[in-house]
Amino acid sequence: MSASTSNETVTPDLSAIARPPQVLNNRGPLWVTDAVCSIVEGKTPLWWYAAISISGTFAAIGGACILYMIITGVGVWGSNSPAFWAWDITNFIFWVSMAHAGSFISAVLFLTRQRWSLSVSRAAEAMTVFAIVCAGVYPAIHIGRVWFVWFLFPVPNNYGMWPNFSSPLLWDVFAVTSYLTVSSLFWFAGMIPDLAVLRDRATTKIRKFCYGVASLGWLGTARQWRHYESMYVVLAGLTSVLVVTVTTIVASDCATSVIPGWHATIFPFYFMVGAVYSGCATVLTLLIPLRALYPQLKDLITPAQLEKVAMLLLMMASCVGYVYVYELFCAWYSGNAFERGAFWERFHGTAAWYAITCLSINLTIPQLFWFKRVRTCLPLVFVLAILCNVGMWFERFMIVTTSLLHDFLPSAWGNFHPSIVDILTATGTLGIFFTLFLLFIRFVPIMSMNELKAVLPGTQPQHGEGH
């Protein structure tokens, strides 16, 4: 047997299973450095000023609305009996969930050695941090009397005030605080070597000083790299855990209550898949225009990588679709009149259009990504990704608010109408998000240069003798 086969020399065609190139057109490490740094070092483009003045205006209006709400009281919002949680918590969950895709892409895909994610991970992490900042706007202000926000923290005091540690709302405080801390650390620590590159290339004294301080005096010694790599793996591991725990805790806010439509054991999973789904949509929404606006990024953020994000989105959206069906099935199968009533009302009541919009977007639009032609047509992906996020906002609203509109007592059933302050605060968070992202593009390297360079062909020793 072996004799006969050894005569035939079979050269297997490996091209089919080869990894797609990380950087197109055989670009070398020096080109990568120049391309990424040129975004920060070059002249500020006109569109950037236009974009930041629009987003800054929205952010300022949002800030003014928050101030008005603090001065006047929560009555300026549309939230009222029975919907005491409405746009505030909807937006909180919408933003904090969106953050999860960034952690998923940069931590879970890093640990599973999915190299394609290297090009998009920095921007995805930035999205995570900024989305948590937007989410963080709400919990503090929605308590109404914001000057009592310290009641949430275990501050030793002589009033006898102490938080109730068995409340999911307090778990939220800790979950979101730790999520913001860990993801900011992950983002910043990953950026230190790249900030040092900007420091070395800086031409003005101010830039040299700012990037010098920000990079903490990084020199890239072998010892520093050793600790750095060790730290990065640990942080990726911790962040991967956060991907699961934060949404689980946020989901517990609803799931541990007795409200029909909230009280379900599938909620942690439901929130997590929805989170990664909407986050993938945001990553696509941000990166596709970025790639078009900075042509040097075309070789770095390749269509193949964006296609993979779209595939991830499709997978998560299918999980979300499964949960929709499961929830409806459980409501029917439980035989519980209140549970059945809540879901019947969700699709027939005064607020039915929220649920109908949510389902009709989330069950159909992402399924278009089964087609390669759709996934590879970037302008189309951009539009569909925005629609996916619209669908996810409606989903969060459907879960949080429409469940409250219809609980046990028919006399307490009601409806919800957002006030103008609600709407402007929500657009304000969008403004904050985009303002931060625009600052990010302009002032820090949007791509992990050191990670990219380390995996380019020919950048590692060939290990000739002795290995």
Partner: protein, 195 residues
Amino acid sequence: MSRHLPVAGSLAEPLHAVGARFDTPDALIAAVRSIRAAGYNAVDCYTPYPIHGLAEELKAPKSLISFLVLGGAVTAIALALTMQLVPSSLIYPLVVGGKPVNFSGLPQYVPITVALTLMLGALAAVKGMILLGGMPRLNHPMLAWDLFAKDASRGFFLAVSARDPNFTLEKVTELLETSGAGDITAIHLEPSDDE
């Protein structure tokens, strides 16, 4: 001085190290091997991205970061459980929502414990990376060398410290030259601004 090396920093100040630049990671690793074989241990390399196997060649010790993270995480668990159990179960036991306040109520303390463990673990990792890596610092003798300060993101640099007990300028320069180094430079300290 037998050879005329380019000088960085101030000649009036003591010599800090001899630096050299290499074009490829392979050349750098080969040079590290020959220099260590000649008995110099105070060698450091500066690279724009992590080079596989370089730390092993330099006999750098294993990173202690995982132990620091373990320390941070264990501290966080102890802290979180104390913070929650002492007031909620011992000092002011108060049943809310039917959740027990004795030890059978432990599961309700898990979420906050997990969140704090992750947070302090991550803080320990980043702090460890910064402090073990000799950071933060605003300046470094190597930055007196203009070529290095401008081009650290392009080349692969090596420096043999003058504090090495075997250090002689001629010998080290010769070793570096035979291993194909470019831009060999004597790096002196810069005069301090203090006085």
